[in-house]
Protein backbone atom coordinates (compact mmCIF):
# COMPACT_ATOMS: atom_id res chain seq x y z
CA UNK A 1 0.00 0.00 0.00
CA UNK A 2 2.87 2.37 0.84
CA UNK A 3 4.41 1.93 -2.62
CA UNK A 4 1.04 2.56 -4.20
CA UNK A 5 0.72 5.80 -2.30
CA UNK A 6 4.23 6.86 -3.37
CA UNK A 7 3.45 6.16 -7.01
CA UNK A 8 -0.06 7.53 -6.89
CA UNK A 9 -1.06 10.59 -8.81
CA UNK A 10 -2.55 13.70 -7.31
CA UNK A 11 -6.13 12.55 -7.72
CA UNK A 12 -5.47 9.53 -5.51
CA UNK A 13 -3.88 11.74 -2.88
CA UNK A 14 -6.79 14.14 -3.15
CA UNK A 15 -9.46 11.48 -2.80
CA UNK A 16 -7.63 9.43 -0.17
CA UNK A 17 -6.90 12.29 2.20
CA UNK A 18 -10.16 14.04 1.45
CA UNK A 19 -12.23 10.92 2.09
CA UNK A 20 -10.44 10.13 5.35
CA UNK A 21 -10.91 13.62 6.69
CA UNK A 22 -14.52 13.91 5.53
CA UNK A 23 -15.40 10.62 7.23
CA UNK A 24 -13.74 11.80 10.43
CA UNK A 25 -15.71 15.02 10.09
CA UNK A 26 -19.00 13.15 9.75
CA UNK A 27 -18.11 11.15 12.85
CA UNK A 28 -17.47 14.47 14.53
CA UNK A 29 -20.95 15.72 13.61
CA UNK A 30 -22.51 12.63 15.20
CA UNK A 31 -20.32 13.09 18.24
CA UNK A 32 -21.37 16.72 18.65
CA UNK A 33 -25.01 15.64 18.30
CA UNK A 34 -24.57 13.07 21.05
CA UNK A 35 -22.64 15.39 23.34
CA UNK A 36 -25.25 18.16 23.13
CA UNK A 37 -28.40 16.03 23.23
CA UNK A 38 -29.07 16.76 26.90
CA UNK A 39 -28.77 20.52 26.74
CA UNK A 40 -31.29 23.34 26.52
CA UNK A 41 -30.86 23.80 22.77
CA UNK A 42 -31.72 21.19 20.18
CA UNK A 43 -28.70 18.96 19.44
CA UNK A 44 -29.24 19.64 15.72
CA UNK A 45 -28.31 23.27 16.42
CA UNK A 46 -24.68 22.32 17.04
CA UNK A 47 -24.36 19.27 14.80
CA UNK A 48 -26.13 21.02 11.95
CA UNK A 49 -23.69 23.93 12.12
CA UNK A 50 -20.81 21.49 12.38
CA UNK A 51 -21.96 19.70 9.22
CA UNK A 52 -22.30 23.01 7.40
CA UNK A 53 -18.74 23.93 8.37
CA UNK A 54 -17.58 20.49 7.22
CA UNK A 55 -19.13 20.98 3.80
CA UNK A 56 -17.71 24.50 3.45
CA UNK A 57 -14.30 23.31 4.61
CA UNK A 58 -14.34 20.47 2.09
CA UNK A 59 -14.78 23.06 -0.64
CA UNK A 60 -11.78 24.93 0.76
CA UNK A 61 -9.86 21.64 0.79
CA UNK A 62 -10.56 21.24 -2.91
CA UNK A 63 -9.67 24.86 -3.67
CA UNK A 64 -6.41 24.82 -1.72
CA UNK A 65 -5.43 21.51 -3.36
CA UNK A 66 -5.91 22.99 -6.81
CA UNK A 67 -3.55 25.93 -6.30
CA UNK A 68 0.01 25.27 -7.54
CA UNK A 69 2.25 24.86 -4.53
CA UNK A 70 4.95 26.98 -6.15
CA UNK A 71 2.60 29.91 -5.75
CA UNK A 72 2.21 29.16 -2.06
CA UNK A 73 5.98 28.98 -1.65
CA UNK A 74 6.83 32.07 -3.65
CA UNK A 75 4.20 34.16 -1.88
CA UNK A 76 4.70 32.59 1.54
CA UNK A 77 5.78 35.75 3.38
CA UNK A 78 2.85 37.75 1.98
CA UNK A 79 0.32 34.99 2.69
CA UNK A 80 1.69 34.51 6.20
CA UNK A 81 1.53 38.24 6.88
CA UNK A 82 -2.12 38.35 5.77
CA UNK A 83 -2.99 35.61 8.24
CA UNK A 84 -0.80 37.04 11.01
CA UNK A 85 -2.60 40.38 11.12
CA UNK A 86 -5.87 38.92 12.51
CA UNK A 87 -3.86 37.42 15.38
CA UNK A 88 -3.05 40.97 16.47
CA UNK A 89 -6.47 42.42 15.68
CA UNK A 90 -8.30 39.81 17.73
CA UNK A 91 -6.60 41.10 20.88
CA UNK A 92 -8.37 44.42 20.40
CA UNK A 93 -11.51 43.56 18.43
CA UNK A 94 -12.15 39.99 19.52
CA UNK A 95 -14.57 38.61 22.08
CA UNK A 96 -13.62 36.84 25.27
CA UNK A 97 -14.89 33.29 25.80
CA UNK A 98 -13.84 31.13 28.77
CA UNK A 99 -11.23 33.71 29.78
CA UNK A 100 -9.61 33.86 26.36
CA UNK A 101 -9.88 36.70 23.85
CA UNK A 102 -9.37 34.69 20.71
CA UNK A 103 -12.50 34.93 18.53
CA UNK A 104 -14.04 37.36 16.11
CA UNK A 105 -17.80 37.52 16.47
CA UNK A 106 -19.58 37.84 13.12
CA UNK A 107 -23.04 37.46 14.57
CA UNK A 108 -24.02 34.14 13.03
CA UNK A 109 -20.63 32.55 13.58
CA UNK A 110 -17.27 32.97 15.31
CA UNK A 111 -13.81 32.78 13.74
CA UNK A 112 -10.67 31.86 15.67
CA UNK A 113 -7.71 33.30 13.73
CA UNK A 114 -5.10 31.30 15.64
CA UNK A 115 -6.65 28.12 14.20
CA UNK A 116 -6.92 29.35 10.62
CA UNK A 117 -3.32 30.59 10.61
CA UNK A 118 -1.72 27.23 11.42
CA UNK A 119 -0.99 25.93 7.89
CA UNK A 120 0.39 29.31 6.83
CA UNK A 121 2.73 29.34 9.82
CA UNK A 122 4.19 26.04 8.64
CA UNK A 123 4.31 27.38 5.08
CA UNK A 124 6.34 30.38 6.18
CA UNK A 125 8.74 28.30 8.27
CA UNK A 126 9.23 25.87 5.36
CA UNK A 127 9.90 28.81 3.03
CA UNK A 128 12.49 30.27 5.41
CA UNK A 129 14.15 26.88 5.88
CA UNK A 130 14.45 26.44 2.13
CA UNK A 131 15.81 29.95 1.51
CA UNK A 132 18.35 30.22 4.30
CA UNK A 133 21.05 28.18 5.98
CA UNK A 134 22.89 27.78 9.23
CA UNK A 135 22.43 30.18 12.12
CA UNK A 136 20.53 32.68 9.99
CA UNK A 137 17.91 30.01 9.32
CA UNK A 138 17.67 29.22 13.05
CA UNK A 139 17.35 32.90 13.94
CA UNK A 140 14.67 33.49 11.33
CA UNK A 141 12.46 30.53 12.15
CA UNK A 142 12.89 30.96 15.91
CA UNK A 143 12.14 34.67 15.59
CA UNK A 144 9.08 33.90 13.46
CA UNK A 145 7.88 31.46 16.06
CA UNK A 146 8.20 33.95 18.91
CA UNK A 147 6.58 36.80 17.01
CA UNK A 148 3.77 34.59 15.73
CA UNK A 149 2.93 33.04 19.09
CA UNK A 150 3.24 36.20 21.18
CA UNK A 151 -0.33 37.40 20.47
CA UNK A 152 -1.59 33.88 21.09
CA UNK A 153 0.13 33.83 24.48
CA UNK A 154 -1.43 37.19 25.28
CA UNK A 155 -4.98 35.88 24.54
CA UNK A 156 -3.99 33.59 26.51
CA UNK A 157 -4.26 30.25 24.72
CA UNK A 158 -1.56 27.94 26.02
CA UNK A 159 -2.90 24.86 24.27
CA UNK A 160 -2.67 26.45 20.82
CA UNK A 161 0.76 27.84 21.69
CA UNK A 162 1.91 24.30 22.44
CA UNK A 163 0.65 23.15 19.04
CA UNK A 164 2.48 25.98 17.31
CA UNK A 165 5.62 25.04 19.23
CA UNK A 166 5.23 21.49 17.95
CA UNK A 167 4.99 22.84 14.39
CA UNK A 168 8.12 24.94 14.88
CA UNK A 169 9.95 21.97 16.35
CA UNK A 170 9.03 19.71 13.42
CA UNK A 171 10.21 22.22 10.82
CA UNK A 172 13.43 22.80 12.73
CA UNK A 173 14.12 19.12 13.40
CA UNK A 174 13.16 17.87 9.96
CA UNK A 175 15.09 20.72 8.36
CA UNK A 176 18.29 19.37 9.84
CA UNK A 177 18.44 21.50 12.98
CA UNK A 178 21.28 20.72 15.35
CA UNK A 179 20.51 18.39 18.25
CA UNK A 180 22.49 20.67 20.53
CA UNK A 181 20.09 23.51 19.83
CA UNK A 182 17.16 21.23 20.57
CA UNK A 183 18.62 20.29 23.94
CA UNK A 184 19.21 23.94 24.77
CA UNK A 185 15.61 24.72 23.80
CA UNK A 186 14.11 21.98 25.95
CA UNK A 187 16.35 22.93 28.86
CA UNK A 188 15.06 26.49 28.59
CA UNK A 189 11.45 25.30 28.52
CA UNK A 190 12.03 23.07 31.53
CA UNK A 191 13.60 25.95 33.45
CA UNK A 192 10.70 28.23 32.58
CA UNK A 193 8.31 25.55 33.78
CA UNK A 194 10.11 25.16 37.11
CA UNK A 195 10.09 28.92 37.63
CA UNK A 196 6.38 29.05 36.74
CA UNK A 197 5.60 26.38 39.35
CA UNK A 198 7.62 28.23 41.95
CA UNK A 199 5.83 31.51 41.23
CA UNK A 200 2.32 30.11 40.73
CA UNK A 201 1.52 27.31 43.20
CA UNK A 202 -1.79 26.55 41.43
CA UNK A 203 0.24 25.09 38.54
CA UNK A 204 1.78 22.58 40.93
CA UNK A 205 -1.68 21.78 42.28
CA UNK A 206 -2.90 21.10 38.75
CA UNK A 207 0.11 18.94 38.08
CA UNK A 208 -0.52 17.01 41.29
CA UNK A 209 -4.17 16.60 40.30
CA UNK A 210 -3.04 15.16 37.00
CA UNK A 211 -0.50 12.77 38.54
CA UNK A 212 -2.73 11.60 41.42
CA UNK A 213 -6.33 12.32 40.46
CA UNK A 214 -7.76 9.65 42.76
CA UNK A 215 -6.26 11.42 45.76
CA UNK A 216 -8.36 14.54 45.15
CA UNK A 217 -11.26 13.45 42.92
CA UNK A 218 -13.46 16.41 43.86
CA UNK A 219 -10.72 19.01 43.58
CA UNK A 220 -7.57 19.07 41.46
CA UNK A 221 -8.26 15.63 40.00
CA UNK A 222 -11.85 16.39 39.07
CA UNK A 223 -11.47 16.86 35.32
CA UNK A 224 -9.19 13.85 34.86
CA UNK A 225 -11.63 11.63 36.76
CA UNK A 226 -14.59 12.82 34.64
CA UNK A 227 -12.73 11.77 31.48
CA UNK A 228 -12.12 8.37 33.00
CA UNK A 229 -15.72 7.89 34.09
CA UNK A 230 -17.08 8.91 30.69
CA UNK A 231 -14.77 6.51 28.83
CA UNK A 232 -15.47 3.71 31.33
CA UNK A 233 -19.22 4.16 30.92
CA UNK A 234 -18.78 3.69 27.18
CA UNK A 235 -17.07 0.36 27.67
CA UNK A 236 -16.53 -1.72 24.54
CA UNK A 237 -19.56 -0.78 22.44
CA UNK A 238 -20.80 2.46 24.02
CA UNK A 239 -23.98 3.73 25.62
CA UNK A 240 -25.41 4.77 22.26
CA UNK A 241 -25.60 8.04 20.35
CA UNK A 242 -27.61 10.61 22.28
CA UNK A 243 -27.45 8.51 25.45
CA UNK A 244 -24.16 9.71 26.90
CA UNK A 245 -25.35 10.59 30.40
CA UNK A 246 -21.96 11.43 31.86
CA UNK A 247 -20.89 13.67 28.95
CA UNK A 248 -24.10 15.64 29.23
CA UNK A 249 -24.07 15.87 33.03
CA UNK A 250 -20.51 15.98 34.30
CA UNK A 251 -18.00 16.34 31.48
CA UNK A 252 -17.13 19.99 30.92
CA UNK A 253 -17.19 21.18 27.28
CA UNK A 254 -18.06 17.73 26.00
CA UNK A 255 -18.40 19.02 22.42
CA UNK A 256 -14.94 20.63 22.28
CA UNK A 257 -12.20 20.05 24.89
CA UNK A 258 -13.63 16.70 26.03
CA UNK A 259 -14.77 15.45 22.62
CA UNK A 260 -12.86 12.20 22.63
CA UNK A 261 -14.16 11.12 26.03
CA UNK A 262 -17.71 12.04 24.96
CA UNK A 263 -17.31 9.99 21.78
CA UNK A 264 -15.95 7.08 23.80
CA UNK A 265 -18.97 7.18 26.08
CA UNK A 266 -21.34 7.16 23.11
CA UNK A 267 -19.71 4.53 20.94
CA UNK A 268 -17.23 2.82 23.22
CA UNK A 269 -13.86 1.39 22.32
CA UNK A 270 -15.26 0.12 19.02
CA UNK A 271 -16.11 3.63 17.86
CA UNK A 272 -13.28 5.64 19.41
CA UNK A 273 -10.32 3.41 18.53
CA UNK A 274 -10.89 4.08 14.78
CA UNK A 275 -10.32 7.78 15.48
CA UNK A 276 -6.77 7.02 16.58
CA UNK A 277 -6.38 4.77 13.55
CA UNK A 278 -7.80 7.51 11.31
CA UNK A 279 -5.21 10.04 12.39
CA UNK A 280 -2.43 7.46 12.08
CA UNK A 281 -3.68 6.74 8.55
CA UNK A 282 -3.54 10.47 7.84
CA UNK A 283 0.04 10.58 9.18
CA UNK A 284 1.24 7.58 7.22
CA UNK A 285 -0.46 8.76 4.03
CA UNK A 286 1.14 12.19 4.33
CA UNK A 287 4.51 10.63 5.11
CA UNK A 288 4.27 8.48 2.00
CA UNK A 289 3.31 11.51 -0.10
CA UNK A 290 6.53 13.14 1.07
CA UNK A 291 8.51 10.24 -0.39
CA UNK A 292 7.54 11.25 -3.94
CA UNK A 293 9.92 12.99 -6.30
CA UNK A 294 9.21 16.50 -5.15
CA UNK A 295 11.42 19.36 -3.92
CA UNK A 296 12.68 19.15 -0.36
CA UNK A 297 10.74 22.21 0.86
CA UNK A 298 7.49 20.55 -0.24
CA UNK A 299 8.41 17.40 1.67
CA UNK A 300 9.19 19.57 4.67
CA UNK A 301 5.83 21.29 4.46
CA UNK A 302 3.88 18.05 3.95
CA UNK A 303 5.39 16.24 6.90
CA UNK A 304 5.49 19.25 9.24
CA UNK A 305 1.88 20.23 8.57
CA UNK A 306 0.63 16.65 8.92
CA UNK A 307 2.63 16.11 12.08
CA UNK A 308 1.34 19.37 13.56
CA UNK A 309 -2.28 18.32 12.96
CA UNK A 310 -1.56 14.87 14.38
CA UNK A 311 0.16 16.40 17.41
CA UNK A 312 -2.94 18.42 18.23
CA UNK A 313 -5.14 15.36 17.79
CA UNK A 314 -2.91 13.14 19.88
CA UNK A 315 -2.53 15.78 22.59
CA UNK A 316 -6.30 16.10 22.83
CA UNK A 317 -6.78 12.34 22.98
CA UNK A 318 -3.97 11.97 25.52
CA UNK A 319 -5.54 14.62 27.76
CA UNK A 320 -8.86 12.80 27.59
CA UNK A 321 -7.11 9.52 28.45
CA UNK A 322 -5.31 11.09 31.41
CA UNK A 323 -1.88 10.78 29.79
CA UNK A 324 -1.37 14.56 29.69
CA UNK A 325 -2.63 17.36 31.96
CA UNK A 326 -5.72 19.27 30.73
CA UNK A 327 -4.68 21.93 28.21
CA UNK A 328 -7.88 23.06 26.48
CA UNK A 329 -7.03 21.70 23.02
CA UNK A 330 -9.75 20.62 20.62
CA UNK A 331 -9.72 17.49 18.46
CA UNK A 332 -9.14 18.49 14.82
CA UNK A 333 -12.12 17.78 12.53
CA UNK A 334 -14.14 16.10 15.28
CA UNK A 335 -14.56 18.79 17.94
CA UNK A 336 -17.16 21.49 17.51
CA UNK A 337 -15.65 24.52 15.83
CA UNK A 338 -15.66 25.76 12.26
CA UNK A 339 -12.24 27.39 12.44
CA UNK A 340 -10.56 24.13 13.43
CA UNK A 341 -12.20 22.15 10.64
CA UNK A 342 -11.38 24.86 8.11
CA UNK A 343 -7.75 25.00 9.20
CA UNK A 344 -7.29 21.25 9.01
CA UNK A 345 -8.94 20.96 5.61
CA UNK A 346 -6.94 23.85 4.16
CA UNK A 347 -3.74 22.26 5.49
CA UNK A 348 -4.75 18.93 3.94
CA UNK A 349 -5.45 20.65 0.63
CA UNK A 350 -2.07 22.31 0.70
CA UNK A 351 -0.47 18.93 1.48
CA UNK A 352 -2.12 17.47 -1.61
CA UNK A 353 -0.97 20.45 -3.65
CA UNK A 354 2.59 20.03 -2.38
CA UNK A 355 2.58 16.34 -3.32
CA UNK A 356 1.98 16.99 -7.01
CA UNK A 357 5.12 15.94 -8.84
CA UNK A 358 4.41 17.71 -12.05
CA UNK A 359 1.66 20.27 -12.32
CA UNK A 360 -0.88 20.37 -15.11
CA UNK A 361 -4.18 22.12 -15.47
CA UNK A 362 -3.85 23.73 -12.10
CA UNK A 363 -4.34 27.32 -11.07
CA UNK A 364 -1.25 29.44 -11.75
CA UNK A 365 0.88 26.66 -13.30
CA UNK A 366 3.43 27.98 -15.78
Amino acid sequence: MIDRIKKSDSSTAFSGLGAALFLLGLWGCLSVFSATSGGELSPFYFSGRQFLWLVISTVFFWMSAKINFDIYMSKAPLIAFIFFIPLILVLFMGVEINGMRGWFDFGLFFVQPSEIAKPFFILLLSHLTAKHEGNKRLALIAGTFFIWTLPIIIEPDWGTTAVYFAGFFFVFFLGGGRIFHIFIGFAAILSAFVIAIACKPYIFKRLYGFLEPEKDPLGAGWHIMQFKYAIARGGFSGEGLGKSIWSNSYLPLSYSDSSFAAIAESVGFLGSFPIIVGFIFFLVWSFCLSAKQIPAERKLFIVSAAFMIATQAFMHISVNLGLLPPTGITLPILSYGGSSIMSTMIAAGMIVSASVERGGGRIGLP
Binding site: E40, M225, F287
Partner: protein
Protein backbone atom coordinates in the same frame (compact mmCIF):
# COMPACT_ATOMS: atom_id res chain seq x y z
CA UNK B 1 21.51 7.34 11.31
CA UNK B 2 18.08 8.79 11.96
CA UNK B 3 19.06 11.59 14.28
CA UNK B 4 21.92 13.11 12.32
CA UNK B 5 21.21 15.13 9.18
CA UNK B 6 23.27 16.68 6.45
CA UNK B 7 24.37 20.19 7.20
CA UNK B 8 22.01 22.80 5.78
CA UNK B 9 19.65 20.13 4.51
CA UNK B 10 16.06 21.20 4.00
CA UNK B 11 14.42 17.88 4.76
CA UNK B 12 15.76 14.80 6.56
CA UNK B 13 13.94 11.61 5.65
CA UNK B 14 15.63 9.74 8.47
CA UNK B 15 14.33 12.17 11.06
CA UNK B 16 10.89 12.10 9.50
CA UNK B 17 10.90 8.32 9.83
CA UNK B 18 11.98 8.63 13.45
CA UNK B 19 9.16 11.03 14.21
CA UNK B 20 6.66 8.78 12.44
CA UNK B 21 7.80 5.85 14.56
CA UNK B 22 7.36 8.06 17.61
CA UNK B 23 3.80 8.91 16.59
CA UNK B 24 2.99 5.25 15.97
CA UNK B 25 4.30 4.41 19.43
CA UNK B 26 2.25 7.28 20.91
CA UNK B 27 -0.80 5.92 19.09
CA UNK B 28 -0.17 2.45 20.50
CA UNK B 29 0.11 3.82 24.04
CA UNK B 30 -3.16 5.72 23.64
CA UNK B 31 -4.91 2.63 22.26
CA UNK B 32 -3.75 0.52 25.19
CA UNK B 33 -4.80 3.20 27.65
CA UNK B 34 -8.23 3.42 25.98
CA UNK B 35 -8.61 -0.34 26.28
CA UNK B 36 -7.46 -0.25 29.90
CA UNK B 37 -9.99 2.38 30.99
CA UNK B 38 -12.88 1.27 28.81
CA UNK B 39 -12.51 -2.48 29.00
CA UNK B 40 -10.07 -3.92 31.52
CA UNK B 41 -10.66 -1.61 34.52
CA UNK B 42 -14.12 -0.53 33.49
CA UNK B 43 -15.94 -2.05 36.47
CA UNK B 44 -13.71 -0.29 38.98
CA UNK B 45 -14.17 3.08 37.25
CA UNK B 46 -17.92 2.59 36.92
CA UNK B 47 -18.13 1.84 40.67
CA UNK B 48 -16.26 5.08 41.42
CA UNK B 49 -18.49 7.21 39.21
CA UNK B 50 -21.64 5.60 40.58
CA UNK B 51 -20.43 6.42 44.07
CA UNK B 52 -19.97 10.02 43.02
CA UNK B 53 -23.28 10.47 41.30
CA UNK B 54 -25.79 7.88 42.48
CA UNK B 55 -28.02 8.75 45.37
CA UNK B 56 -30.58 6.63 47.19
CA UNK B 57 -34.07 7.52 48.22
CA UNK B 58 -37.20 6.00 49.70
CA UNK B 59 -40.17 4.88 47.64
CA UNK B 60 -43.19 5.71 49.71
CA UNK B 61 -45.85 3.02 49.39
CA UNK B 62 -49.37 4.10 48.50
CA UNK B 63 -51.52 4.30 51.61
CA UNK B 64 -54.41 1.84 51.78
CA UNK B 65 -58.02 2.96 51.59
CA UNK B 66 -60.60 2.88 54.38
CA UNK B 67 -63.88 1.35 53.31
CA UNK B 68 -67.20 0.81 55.06
CA UNK B 69 -68.81 -2.58 55.54
CA UNK B 70 -70.37 -2.43 52.09
CA UNK B 71 -67.17 -1.51 50.29
CA UNK B 72 -67.90 2.19 49.93
CA UNK B 73 -64.64 4.14 49.98
CA UNK B 74 -64.49 6.48 52.96
CA UNK B 75 -60.83 7.60 52.75
CA UNK B 76 -58.33 7.44 49.89
CA UNK B 77 -55.14 9.04 48.58
CA UNK B 78 -54.90 11.23 45.50
CA UNK B 79 -51.83 12.08 43.47
CA UNK B 80 -51.57 15.70 42.61
CA UNK B 81 -48.82 17.43 40.69
CA UNK B 82 -47.19 20.75 41.34
CA UNK B 83 -44.97 22.85 39.10
CA UNK B 84 -41.87 24.03 40.94
CA UNK B 85 -39.46 26.61 39.52
CA UNK B 86 -36.46 27.64 41.56
CA UNK B 87 -36.00 31.38 41.67
CA UNK B 88 -32.37 31.17 40.56
CA UNK B 89 -33.58 30.05 37.13
CA UNK B 90 -35.78 33.10 36.77
CA UNK B 91 -32.69 35.21 36.14
CA UNK B 92 -32.70 33.61 32.69
CA UNK B 93 -35.03 35.76 30.54
CA UNK B 94 -36.13 32.73 28.53
CA UNK B 95 -37.24 30.87 31.68
CA UNK B 96 -38.96 33.95 33.05
CA UNK B 97 -40.86 34.48 29.80
CA UNK B 98 -41.95 30.84 29.69
CA UNK B 99 -43.25 31.00 33.25
CA UNK B 100 -45.27 34.11 32.47
CA UNK B 101 -46.78 32.38 29.45
CA UNK B 102 -47.65 29.35 31.56
CA UNK B 103 -49.37 31.48 34.19
CA UNK B 104 -51.27 33.44 31.59
CA UNK B 105 -52.43 30.29 29.78
CA UNK B 106 -53.48 28.47 32.96
CA UNK B 107 -55.39 31.38 34.46
CA UNK B 108 -57.10 32.42 31.22
CA UNK B 109 -58.29 28.88 30.54
CA UNK B 110 -59.38 28.32 34.14
CA UNK B 111 -56.99 25.42 34.68
CA UNK B 112 -55.62 26.85 37.91
CA UNK B 113 -56.91 29.06 40.72
CA UNK B 114 -55.07 31.88 42.44
CA UNK B 115 -54.94 29.92 45.69
CA UNK B 116 -52.81 27.28 43.98
CA UNK B 117 -50.09 29.79 43.14
CA UNK B 118 -47.51 29.87 45.93
CA UNK B 119 -44.27 31.82 46.18
CA UNK B 120 -41.73 31.26 48.93
CA UNK B 121 -38.13 32.30 49.50
CA UNK B 122 -36.62 29.89 47.01
CA UNK B 123 -39.32 28.70 44.64
CA UNK B 124 -42.40 29.57 42.69
CA UNK B 125 -45.04 26.81 42.76
CA UNK B 126 -48.34 26.08 41.07
CA UNK B 127 -50.17 23.27 42.91
CA UNK B 128 -53.07 20.93 42.22
CA UNK B 129 -52.40 20.64 38.53
CA UNK B 130 -54.75 18.63 36.39
CA UNK B 131 -53.60 16.51 33.46
CA UNK B 132 -54.60 19.26 31.02
CA UNK B 133 -52.65 21.83 33.01
CA UNK B 134 -49.57 19.59 32.92
CA UNK B 135 -49.89 19.14 29.15
CA UNK B 136 -50.06 22.90 28.79
CA UNK B 137 -46.93 23.32 30.92
CA UNK B 138 -45.02 20.67 29.00
CA UNK B 139 -45.94 22.31 25.70
CA UNK B 140 -44.60 25.69 26.78
CA UNK B 141 -41.63 24.60 28.92
CA UNK B 142 -40.37 21.97 26.50
CA UNK B 143 -37.25 20.17 27.73
CA UNK B 144 -36.18 23.03 30.01
CA UNK B 145 -34.82 21.64 33.26
CA UNK B 146 -35.88 24.76 35.16
CA UNK B 147 -39.50 23.54 35.21
CA UNK B 148 -40.09 20.55 37.49
CA UNK B 149 -43.40 18.73 37.68
CA UNK B 150 -43.40 17.10 41.10
CA UNK B 151 -46.01 14.62 42.34
CA UNK B 152 -47.60 15.08 45.78
CA UNK B 153 -49.94 12.75 47.63
CA UNK B 154 -53.00 14.14 49.39
CA UNK B 155 -55.33 12.21 51.70
CA UNK B 156 -59.03 12.65 50.96
CA UNK B 157 -62.15 11.47 52.77
CA UNK B 158 -65.90 11.59 52.28
CA UNK B 159 -66.93 15.16 52.70
CA UNK B 160 -69.19 14.72 55.74
CA UNK B 161 -68.16 15.95 59.23
CA UNK B 162 -69.16 12.77 61.04
CA UNK B 163 -67.28 10.60 58.61
CA UNK B 164 -64.23 12.81 58.73
CA UNK B 165 -64.29 12.63 62.53
CA UNK B 166 -64.41 8.85 62.48
CA UNK B 167 -61.76 8.52 59.81
CA UNK B 168 -59.39 10.92 61.54
CA UNK B 169 -56.45 12.82 60.12
CA UNK B 170 -53.01 12.14 58.74
CA UNK B 171 -49.75 14.02 58.78
CA UNK B 172 -46.54 13.84 56.76
CA UNK B 173 -43.71 12.68 58.95
CA UNK B 174 -40.28 12.67 57.22
CA UNK B 175 -42.00 12.18 53.89
CA UNK B 176 -44.18 9.35 55.18
CA UNK B 177 -47.91 9.72 55.77
CA UNK B 178 -48.98 8.73 59.32
CA UNK B 179 -52.39 8.53 60.94
CA UNK B 180 -52.65 10.82 63.95
CA UNK B 181 -56.30 10.35 64.94
CA UNK B 182 -59.34 8.16 64.36
CA UNK B 183 -59.28 5.11 62.14
CA UNK B 184 -56.22 6.44 60.31
CA UNK B 185 -54.25 6.16 63.53
CA UNK B 186 -55.84 2.92 64.72
CA UNK B 187 -55.09 1.08 61.50
CA UNK B 188 -51.92 2.96 60.63
CA UNK B 189 -49.66 -0.10 60.30
CA UNK B 190 -51.98 -1.89 57.88
CA UNK B 191 -52.66 1.26 55.87
CA UNK B 192 -48.98 2.34 55.62
CA UNK B 193 -47.37 -0.61 53.88
CA UNK B 194 -43.56 -1.02 53.69
CA UNK B 195 -41.35 1.60 51.99
CA UNK B 196 -39.05 0.59 49.18
CA UNK B 197 -35.74 2.04 48.02
CA UNK B 198 -34.62 3.64 44.74
CA UNK B 199 -31.41 5.08 43.44
CA UNK B 200 -30.94 7.82 40.87
CA UNK B 201 -28.01 9.70 39.40
CA UNK B 202 -27.50 13.39 39.96
CA UNK B 203 -25.55 15.68 37.66
CA UNK B 204 -22.84 18.05 38.89
CA UNK B 205 -25.54 20.63 39.72
CA UNK B 206 -27.47 18.16 41.85
CA UNK B 207 -30.27 17.67 39.34
CA UNK B 208 -31.66 14.23 38.59
CA UNK B 209 -30.36 12.75 35.33
CA UNK B 210 -33.25 11.42 33.28
CA UNK B 211 -33.27 7.70 32.61
CA UNK B 212 -31.13 6.74 35.62
CA UNK B 213 -33.91 5.81 38.03
CA UNK B 214 -33.49 2.28 39.43
CA UNK B 215 -35.56 0.37 42.02
CA UNK B 216 -33.23 -1.17 44.60
CA UNK B 217 -35.94 -2.62 46.85
CA UNK B 218 -39.57 -2.94 45.97
CA UNK B 219 -42.16 -1.36 48.21
CA UNK B 220 -45.21 -3.14 49.65
CA UNK B 221 -48.34 -1.02 49.26
CA UNK B 222 -50.64 -0.44 52.21
CA UNK B 223 -53.66 -2.68 52.53
CA UNK B 224 -57.24 -1.51 52.47
CA UNK B 225 -59.15 -1.58 55.77
CA UNK B 226 -62.83 -2.50 55.96
CA UNK B 227 -64.73 -1.03 58.90
CA UNK B 228 -67.57 -2.90 60.62
CA UNK B 229 -69.92 0.02 60.09
CA UNK B 230 -71.78 1.09 56.95
CA UNK B 231 -71.67 4.69 55.83
CA UNK B 232 -75.31 5.26 56.74
CA UNK B 233 -74.76 3.80 60.20
CA UNK B 234 -71.80 6.07 60.77
CA UNK B 235 -73.92 9.11 59.97
CA UNK B 236 -76.92 7.90 62.04
CA UNK B 237 -74.72 6.81 64.93
CA UNK B 238 -73.16 10.20 65.24
CA UNK B 239 -76.52 11.93 64.93
CA UNK B 240 -78.11 9.68 67.60
CA UNK B 241 -75.10 9.98 69.82
CA UNK B 242 -75.20 13.72 69.55
CA UNK B 243 -78.83 13.75 70.43
Amino acid sequence: MFVSAKKNSVFSEGRATLLLIGFLAWGAVMSLRLAEIGVFTRDKNIALCEKLARRKGVIQPPRGRILDRNGIVLAWSERRHALIVEKQFLRNPDVSEKLNRILERLTSSGLTAKKDFIEDAGTVQIRNLSAEAMDCIREIAGVSKAFKLTPRIERKSVDYPKVRELIGETRLDNGRMRGISGAEEEWDIELSGVPGEYSVMLDRFGKIIEGTFRVEKGMIPGTDVNLDLALSEIIEFKEDHKQ
